[in-house]
C-alpha cells in the first residue's frame, strides 16, 4: 500500500477544515434545531456559484464569501418559511428548496461548470502576511472554522441562542415561555445554511471551480462529520460538541483520502460515505469502544501486511 504522503494529508486537512464549516451548519439545523434539513445540497452550491461568479467578474474573493453567506441564508429562510408558514414537513421543505436551487444555481453560473483560472482567492491575501503558500489553506481553514466555532459558542449562550436551543429541545415548553418558535426555526435554518454556503464559497476558491453538481450528497457528508465527531469526542459540553463536529469533519476527510489511496474511485465515495454514516450510527449500539479497538487492530494488521 502506498503511504499517505504529506501533500495528500494536507489536502485532506484543508478540505476537513473548510467542510467543517459546512458540518457546523448541518449541526446547527440537525442537532440544535432538531430539523432534518436537506437544503444543504443546494445551499453549498449556491455559495460556490455566488462566490465564483463574483470573483470572475473581478470582485474581491472576500466579497464572494460574504455574499455566498447571504445567499445561503436566504435559501435556509425559504425552507424555514415553507415549513413554518406553509406547514410543509421538514424533509419535504428542504427537498423543495434544494430542487428549486438547482435551477437558481444554473442561472447564477450561466453554465454547469465555472473554472476559476488565475483568479485571486482569499488565501492570496493571507500570503502577504508571510504565511507559506503550502499552508495557506490550512491556516485559512483553521481561522474560518475557529471563528465559526467561537461565534456559535457565543451565540448559543446569548438570550436568543438559549431560545434557539430550547426550540430544538422542547417546542411546547419554549412556546409557553413566550418564544415565537416559527421565528426561531427560520433564524436557525437561515444561519445553518448561511454557514453551509460560506463553506461552498471557500470550497470553490480552494478547488478552483464551481460545479452545479458539487452539492450532491453533501448533506450526508456533513452528517457523517457530525456523527463521527460525536462518537469520537462526545457532546458533554457545548464547546466540546462544536469542536467534535470540526474534528469529525477532519477524520471524515482523512478516511476519504485513505480509501482513495487504497484504489477506490471518486465516484465510489458516496457509497463509502453512506457506509461510514451507517457504521457511525450503529457501532455505539454494539459497544463502540470494543468495536473500534477491533477495527483499529484490523486496519493496523492490514497496513503491516501492505508494508
Amino acid at each position: 500500500m502506498k503511504s499517505l504522503n504529506l501533500k495528500i494529508l494536507l489536502g485532506a486537512v484543508e478540505l476537513g477544515l473548510i467542510f467543517g464549516v459546512m458540518a457546523l451548519g448541518v449541526y446547527l439545523t440537525f442537532r440544535i434545531l432538531d430539523f432534518p434539513d436537506l437544503t444543504v445540497d443546494g445551499s453549498l452550491t449556491i455559495g460556490a456559484a455566488t462566490a465564483a461568479v463574483l470573483i470572475i467578474q473581478g470582485y474581491s474573493p472576500w466579497l464572494g464569501l460574504a455574499l455566498a453567506f447571504l445567499a445561503g441564508g436566504v435559501a435556509g429562510m425559504i425552507t424555514g418559511v415553507l415549513h413554518t408558514h406553509f406547514r410543509i414537513i421538514p424533509i419535504l421543505a428542504g427537498i423543495l428548496t434544494m430542487t428549486g436551487l438547482y435551477s437558481v444555481n444554473l442561472r447564477i453560473m450561466g453554465r454547469a461548470n465555472l473554472p476559476l483560472l488565475g483568479t485571486d482567492t482569499v488565501v492570496d491575501s493571507l500570503r502577504s502576511l508571510g504565511i507559506p503558500a503550502q499552508y495557506g489553506w490550512v491556516v485559512f481553514g483553521l481561522l474560518l472554522a475557529g471563528a465559526v466555532i467561537i461565534f456559535l459558542y457565543w451565540l448559543f449562550q446569548t438570550e436568543l441562542g438559549l431560545a434557539l436551543r430550547a426550540t430544538g429541545d422542547n417546542e411546547v415548553m419554549i412556546k409557553s415561555l413566550g418564544v415565537n418558535v416559527n421565528g426561531m426555526k427560520i433564524l436557525g435554518l437561515s444561519l445553518g445554511n448561511a454557514l453551509v454556503a460560506l463553506a461552498g464559497g471557500a470550497v470553490a476558491q480552494l478547488q478552483g471551480f464551481a460545479d452545479i453538481s458539487m452539492g450532491i450528497g453533501m448533506i450526508i457528508a456533513g452528517l457523517a462529520a457530525v456523527i463521527i465527531g460525536e462518537m469520537l469526542i462526545g457532546t458533554r459540553t457545548l464547546l466540546r460538541a462544536l469542536i467534535a463536529v470540526l474534528c469529525g469533519s477532519l477524520v471524515y476527510r482523512i478516511i476519504i483520502a485513505v480509501v482513495l489511496r487504497l484504489g477506490l474511485q471518486t465516484t465510489d465515495l458516496k457509497l463509502v460515505t453512506a457506509v461510514l454514516v451507517v457504521l457511525a450510527l450503529t457501532l455505539p449500539r454494539f459497544g463502540f469502544k470494543k468495536q473500534l479497538l477491533a477495527l483499529g487492530g484490523w486496519s493496523r494488521a492490514s497496513v503491516e501486511k501492505g508494508n
Partner: protein, 272 residues
Amino acid sequence: MLQLKKATKVFNRDSVNEKRALHQLDLQLAAGDFVTIIGSKGAGKSTLLNAIAGLWFLDEGKIYLDGTDITNMPDYKRAGLIGRVFQDPMVGTAASMTIEENLALAAKRGHSRGLKKGINKSLRSRIKEELSRLGLGLEDRLSTPVGLLSGGQRQALTLLMATFQQPRLLLLDEHTAALDPKTGEKVLSLTEELVAESGLTTLMVTHNIVDSLKVGNRTIMMHEGQIVLDIKGKEREEMTPQDVLRLFERNSGKQLANDRMLLVKNRKSNGA
C-alpha cells in the same frame, strides 16, 4: 382580571368525531383568586386552560385578561402574561439544557430576547437563591442537564420557571398527577407557597377532590364543557368531598364513577 364570555370550542367539527369541548362557558376571576378545577375525564378542563393559553383560538366567545381582549392573541404573545405547568414533567423543561439555562429562559418570559449574555452574575445569584428554596440541592447543580433530574425535581423546577418572572395568571394542569404521592404533595405545597407569596391568580386542575377543597379559595366543577358547580367562601369551607360528589351527580345527572377522581382522605390525618 380574567374573564371568559360564552367560550365555545368544537373539535373536529362536522365529522363523526365532532366533540364540543367547551360550550358557552362563562368564567370570571378576581385578582388573587386561586381556583381549583375538578371534573370527569373529557369534561374540558385541559381545553379550558389551553383556550386561555391560546394553543388555538376559540370558535366563539371572548377572553379578556386585565381588561385586554386576548381572544385573538397568538400563544407566544400571551405567554408573557401566563405561566404554565403541565401534567407531564418532561414537557415543562428542556432536557438537554442545564438547570440554570432553563431558568434563564424563564427569566425572559414576556421580554424580547437579544444578543446579551443569557446568564449574568445577578441572574445567576437569583437563580441560586430561588433554587435553594426548593430544598432539593439543585442550587449546587446549576450546570447539570435537566434530563438527568427525576420527574418530581423537573416538575418543581417547572413550577419555579412558571413563577420566576411573575405571571399575571398561573395555569396548572394536573401538575402533580404524574408524580408519586409524596413528591406530589411536596410539589403541591410548594405551589401554595409560591402562589401565596406573590398573590398569583391561579387556575389549578386536579383530580383529587380533597386537594380541590383544601387548596385555593374557590372550586369549580366542569362537565361537558360547562361549569356545573362554582363554590367559594363559607359554602366551600363547609363542603365535604362527599357533598361534592353528590352535587356533581345532581348537576350532571350522572355518576362520577371515575377511577381518576380520587377520594383520598385528608393526608394529614392519614399520616398521623
